[in-house]
Amino acid sequence: MLLSFDTASPLVTVALAEGTEVLAERVTEMAMKHGEQLAPLIAGVLEDAGAVRQDVSAIAVGVGPGPFTGLRVGLVTARTLGFVLDVPVYGVCSLDILAVQALDVGAVDGPFMVATDARRKEVYWATYDEFALRIDEPAVNRPVDVASDLPVVGEGARLYPDSFPHAVGPVRPSAGWLARVVAEERAELLDPEPLYLRRPDAVASPPKAVS
């Protein structure tokens, strides 16, 4: 069974799948609580599917781009679980999950864009062909600098309608679709490395807050 999760949006989404069949899926609406929610949700989907941890034969994780803190929760969880369960860990660009879902549910039928909320008045984005294959590397920009008349999937389109007038399809990635993407190899499978796309803010905290 494939255990999949994505923490690159404000939500945490977790699924357990056998091939392309999603056996259990859980999502929470509590925004920005990845650290609290991910582990209980994993335990929850195992329970929902009547499975045990030893049934997990691979792990898939959304590697972003997305808010760093949540992203790291997903990645450290995937890597650590992969280590203790001794199973492979596949990374998938979180924008690709939205792209495949948008195509398969019929929200798009030609070239399109995926744009998600990068905060700081910017979007994470990439463009896709009619098969939902990514054409370029994901990037982070101000909406006005990458404004597009293409259909745009994802939360970015909802947040910046002036730059992206044609909002379509799903808003946030789901772990069930991530499982399908991996099962059918519909996107490039990556190492579980975070796609930060931004350098850290080089602001030192006051001397050791705690030591």
Partner: protein
């Protein structure tokens, strides 16, 4: 029952620590530090620290398991620093600990970083006497704690009202042109200096201060006094006697710390003082505490320097004590709490 085998994870600041203990026995203490990545910023950059924790986590867990000669599935429980510390940094450790707990189907204990600094002494000197007075001194903390049972809570008797002791060491080291971190360099420079060369102020020791702040500390005035003294010397064109200033400053810090620690122990009828945190490595602090404590019939315990600074073993040590005393594990949705109070030792 055999003593519990516990793996502990610490990521509250810039050190990724994974320790493994069996009861009071240290089996592994693996550490990866991102301190060098922060050096050019003159302080710890939280985002840099968090990124480094993610990269170091699994390799450090692996290294700890190898050193201890145990398989992850052999452990009885996982413990992790849930706070206090840098929020984003703590979160990486807490998430990793939860992944271990879910992946191994073992209980998890989210524990307090400061209480862990106290518990680590059990790896060196065996069970903590109860009660025990803990003096925690580091770059982020200077506090006196009454510890009755480390697994149920500690009673803060006093703390710094401004700078931490370690912070004062760092700032004075910079004034004297000594490298960071200041503690060890001041300690070394002070060896050949005179403790009484300058009579620097002892914060919160006047009769009036004692009424309100009997067991509290203040090092900000001391730091300013050293700065003024050094500036005056430089203005007059005379060389600054680095060793003498270092020794006099160190004496002022250690005098106040030990005086108040011994006073607190005597007042509370406690006959053991435990010193923890990075500044516990200071040679003068150890000597002066032992001297003054002995005069009152009080024994002093100090873990070796490697266990005083942040590490995973201390978190494992506290976790092992939680298991041994049958404390209830934390829920799987336990949060990281960057300002977890010292009174909350288990979440």
């Amino acid at each position: 029952m055999n003593e519990p085998l516990v793996l502990g994870i610490e990521t509250s600041c810039d050190e990724t620590g994974v320790g493994i203990v069996r009861g009071h026995t240290l089996l592994a203490d693996a550490i990866a530090s991102s301190v060098e990545e922060h050096a050019r910023f003159g302080g710890v950059v939280p985002e840099v620290a968090s990124r480094a924790h993610l990269e170091a986590m699994v390799p450090t867990i692996e290294r700890a398991c190898e050193t201890a000669g145990v398989k992850p599935r052999d452990v009885d429980a996982i413990s992790v620093t849930s706070g206090p510390g840098l929020a984003g940094a703590l979160l990486v450790g807490v998430a990793a600990a939860k992944a271990l707990a879910v992946g191994l189907d073992k209980p998890i204990y989210g524990v307090n970083h400061l209480a862990s600094h106290v518990a680590v002494d059990q790896l060196e000197h065996g069970a903590l006497p109860e009660p025990c007075l803990a003096m925690l001194v580091s770059g982020g903390h200077s506090s006196l704690l009454r510890v009755e049972d480390i697994t149920t809570g500690v009673d803060p008797l006093g703390a710094t009202i401004d700078d931490a002791a370690g912070e004062a060491f760092d700032k004075v080291a910079r004034l004297l042109g000594l490298p960071f971190p200041g503690g060890p360099h001041i300690d070394r420079a002070a060896e050949s200096g005179s403790k009484v060369y300058v009579d620097f102020p002892r914060g919160l020791t006047s009769r009036r201060d004692i009424e309100r702040h009997r067991f509290d500390f203040s090092f900000s005035g001391l730091k300013t006094a050293v700065a003024r003294w050094v500036e005056a010397r430089e203005r007059s064109g005379e060389p600054v006697p680095v060793a003498d200033v270092a020794a006099s400053f160190q004496e002022a810090v250690c005098d106040v710390l030990t005086r108040k620690a011994v006073d607190a122990a005597v007042t509370h009828g406690i006959d053991h003082i435990m010193i923890g945190g990075g500044v516990a490595a200071n040679s003068r602090l150890r000597v002066l505490t032992e001297e003054r404590a002995a005069a009152k019939g009080i024994r002093v315990r100090v873990p070796r320097p490697g266990l005083c600074t942040d590490n995973g073993a201390m978190v494992a040590a506290l976790g092992a004590e939680m298991v041994a005393r049958g404390r209830r594990p934390s829920p799987l949705d336990l949060p990281a709490d960057s300002s977890q109070p010292v009174t909350s030792v288990l979440v």
